[in-house]
Symmetry: C3
Subunit: 461 residues, 3 copies
């Protein structure tokens, strides 16, 4: 092949560059939407259908034939029918032999069938090459063309060439294929669109549980105790006062729980003297949901901020302010400014503001589009350094706010500590251990271990 002919090829790309016909079995919503999109991208499309009457819903430029005829026209057949009807494909086994069958089906429930739809199809038609794809794309997204929802198309299959052909189509439609490996991955891919925030489940249940506990704890101490012993009805505290006690406590504890697994991991690595052994399962899972824990903590912190800021608007607050001033007037004296009090009040407000500010920064950098634009070192810097700084500020905020009550007996109604005392346990423990871990004599071996050094190399073999 001489230089010239290569140039010729560039001028007139060979015919294999021409897009090959694609066959679609089924003329439902998704089959029509996909066909429409394919025609737009230059693929000849032929539909396989029971009735070859051309419905006006089917794209104009598509051919409609019987299933067998349609299948013969193309190397790739998209099976846009429901799993229950797969059986009718068995008589077509001979026609479909060697063809690439694209299973795009979804189920209505998680793990509805023992094996995935794609594997079921592969068992029914062992002579065909089954590829799972497109199930995460909605007909609506294809039709509207906006594809605001995910552009990713998960693809899996046992035949590498068949998978390649499907992935080329995916790319041609302006979507991004993501190879998930062999057909065994089909189960996972089929479950994907049925999932409802799987990573959020544990953090949310944990938060709900803790919130309920602290809420009841506060109701008992602040409302029931006051009602019994002081005969005051403060039931309206349920709306704002108590939520505004629970939210900061939850925010602080959850933020500390974000950094706790890292502490455990460091201790385990130091103890084992190697990083080449897997962490216990619970720690792995915990580390994977740190982002979710942190975001829920941020939500609680935000609620705390707003609940606090509305304080002056509450009828209760106006009444209390008025009462205080009137009592001063009636006693005919003006209290001078209490400087210690002014310092304390301004300090904990300022610490809280700075802690919340850093917290929001952490939240913003965890947005996918922001974290995609920073490198690994920058991401670590923000999430680790700034994160610990936020934890320090928030813990200090709580300590300064409640410090004076630590030793006051009125904080221990029914011998139970106030919840802000409870809330300080985990963050203080995390900060103290972290403080120990950054001492050079501990930090140096840890860094070495993390760079691959092993105390007892035999362990890793």
């Amino acid at each position: 092949m001489n230089k010239n002919s290569s140039n010729m090829m560039a001028l007139a790309p060979n015919t294999s560059n021409k897009r090959e016909t694609v066959c679609i079995f089924g003329t439902g919503d998704f089959g029509r939407a996909l066909g429409h999109k394919m025609i737009q991208s230059g693929y000849p499309v032929v539909y396989g259908s029971r009735s070859t009457q051309i419905s006006n819903l089917i794209p104009k430029d598509a051919e409609v034939l019987g299933h067998a005829e349609a299948a013969q026209k193309a190397a790739i057949i998209i099976i846009a029918i429901q799993r229950q009807h797969y059986n009718f494909l068995t008589p077509l086994a001979e026609v479909l032999r060697g063809k690439v069958l694209v299973d795009i089906s979804n189920n209505l429930k998680l793990n509805q069938y023992p094996e995935s739809n794609a594997e079921h199809l592969a068992q029914l038609l062992p002579g065909s090459k089954v590829v799972k794809a497109f199930n995460t794309v909605s007909a609506w997204a294809l039709q509207s063309g906006t594809l605001d929802a995910s552009r990713q198309v998960f693809v899996c299959g046992d035949d590498v060439e068949a998978k390649q052909m499907v992935m080329n189509i995916v790319r041609a439609l302006g979507l991004t294929p993501l190879d998930k490996g062999s057909l065994l991955a089909a189960q996972e891919i089929e479950n994907y669109p049925l999932q409802l925030f799987p990573m959020w489940k544990f953090p949310i249940f944990l938060s709900l549980g803790l919130t309920a506990f602290f809420f009841l704890y506060c109701v008992v101490l602040d409302i029931i105790y006051t009602y019994i012993y002081e005969n005051n009805d403060f039931s309206f505290f349920i709306a704002i006062t108590i939520p505004n006690r629970v939210c900061p406590v939850m925010a602080l504890i959850l933020l500390a729980l974000v950094y706790l697994p890292g502490i455990f991991a460091a201790i385990i690595q130091l103890y084992r003297g190697t990083k080449y052994r897997r962490f216990p399962d619970w720690l792995d899972k915990w580390m994977l949901c740190r982002k979710q824990l942190g975001l829920i903590a941020l939500a609680f912190a935000s609620l705390h901020v707003v609940f606090t800021l509305v304080t002056p608007l509450r009828a209760f607050a106006s009444w209390r302010t008025g009462k205080g001033i009137i009592s001063q007037v009636l006693n005919n004296k003006t209290e001078p400014l209490d400087h210690t009090n002014a310092w304390l009040s301004d300090s904990y407000l300022a610490l809280g503001i700075l802690g919340f500010f850093l917290f929001v920064l952490l939240g913003i950098t965890s947005l996918p589009s922001v974290s995609n634009n920073v490198n690994w070192r920058e991401f670590r810097f923000v999430q680790s350094k700034l994160g610990y700084l936020a934890l320090i500020f928030c813990t200090a905020h709580t300590l300064v706010y409640g410090g004076k009550w630590f030793l006051s007996p009125s904080a221990y109604k029914w011998y139970l500590p106030n919840i802000y005392i409870l809330s300080l346990i985990v963050p203080c423990a995390v900060l103290v251990v972290k403080f120990v871990l950054i001492f050079p004599c501990v930090d140096k071996p840890l860094t070495q271990i993390r760079q691959g050094w092993e105390r007892n190399p035999k362990y890793s073999k």
Copy 2:
């Protein structure tokens, strides 16, 4: 072809893998920036120019020749000149025959010419294969390499192979080609960079209109009425008090308008007994701008929050607080805490905070990078379930806040209802109808219809 030779090919990819020369007509900003980027990506570049004197602005590694000579060197010619000068290409028709011409031009105004620039070029040079591309990329983005702005390059053209060649170049430059179909799409692609938030136009005009109406309504009732009948000058209410009355009303109405079209759609589908007939045009358009309506509602809600939170900082508020306390003192009595009032005030604040919190969550999940990371079910869950919950909270917030004034005659100055009464009409209607729609006897047929069932199947044919 035996196994061995295939391996050979992998070792030494055939020459067609080498990047073919690209010719660029025109040495303006964009032509230079594109040439520079192409050279960087390994394409030999040759410029076609009137003067073949080499300017120091042209990339060093590029050749500069006359138009005809340059065109002969390449299969792809990028036409980086303005539409007005396309006529000078007609004498080159013979040289350009069979070549791929890439039209990258933009106009200064929407629909400036009857046909798109690319179609005009295709008419001038019927022997060439015209592809529209690159017009949405700016020279600055190409040059700086950051491409912070969109990485998407819309491509269209009648010749599939030509389009493929151009899309390969687009990919090689690190951009994402998006096939928009035949050259008919060129008009749309050329209009794209001239658009100014087309989806936002209707929601913004609607909001401005309603805001102006409610603002005037409030000015009349709160300032003019008070001035005439009570002889009080409250003109300074224009700055904060009235905006803070209009904002929540707008937020609530717009949020309800986000869910209203879904209600209409459900009723229409129930009535027709099929989902296979198109909605009326106005409903389609309305449904497409729900996201925009929701975000504007969120903006109003945020303004309402900030306007409310600054209340204690206003000179008017301090004066009113002082007046209240002083009148208590002068009457020599201390008012006890009004428990009903404390409950009401805390409840509507708490409801408002929770509603706003959910509202902000909805806003965050509508960020493209977040919505791309959730699946369809999760997106629906947040936008529909959490959205309705936000609407319920916000409506309850308004009801509790204003409930006591519903029957008070002072709320009907000049026989006109207060605007918060007006604001409740749409959200209450939406919630009531939605409540009916989730009854099993209504929900079941609706779900069936949405899964494809038809009451009178003949309709869809």
Copy 3:
């Protein structure tokens, strides 16, 4: 080649479509993670290792051989070993001749070695084709498959075909290759993961410096001056009062500094009469960090908002309110509402709220995922039009807030102006010059220059 055979090819893609074997030298974390991912995507993987004993950490389906044997099996060899050990590759020079070597190494420090690792490798093995890639991807991201961090893989190399082969692998793994040109770019690519917010450095240092200056300035005027001349200890102002004076000043100045370089650029272009000459270096750099300046300004503005909103919660504020009311009571008079004051207070609050609202809008549109979804015209509209509007609102907010003190001698302690007077200099200058620039007699030539017109065309040659 007839039509039929082309169809045959579509049915049975030729063997070159089959994925070729990839060899990986080194069985460290990254080598294993990459191998695992490649096997998942259908590549046969063979490891080259000193000990060919199969460790259970190495992916199951991979072969492990000696270096020379492994290298012979593949056309592409990924060098997953550290730069210090590159020397051991020299004896393998003959085996590696003509092969594609992918350098994936990173250093521990910026510019640790005189030449990049990839160039060093190319010098050691001149017969091989070195391509730099994958160094920005972390083993963790590959393993977890989430790739939440950047999906972009920078690729560079002198051999276009070798680069193509590597980029195809990158794509097959679901990542996005970005061609950065010849191997000279390797230094930059290797430095990338070691950078820590390089674009933020100047804006952050500038902000820290200015903040420190203004903070001290306020401490001197508000605390030391008051202590000396009025004998009042207001040291607690350090926590909230002074930060809340510095933050708005910083926000306003930084926001003005975002628009100042644009003003300079316009003046320089008008003066030179052409846009085809480069701006001075300092201006170029300044323009490139406008986004960062703006975001830091937004951070200061947000802090100002929160610091302001907590005012009523401060012990100092309650004390001052009480004192004011009690003095009224003791004087036995109720002050009437001061309408001018009410107007002023409400106006600057409203202006501030609107300015902040627009500011937040600007911040949201600068999120990568949002700015990627708007076209150039829309982005310009928001960042320029809305940005100037925000600047106008914020400047007006400051003017109305502090206007009454401009002429009051108490604002000039020790003959020094209050900082809000200093803060107005830059924004007012920017607004005045911008106002001049939008006059038609100035705007018209400027627009022409920006469209390419030149006053003295000889300049550009």
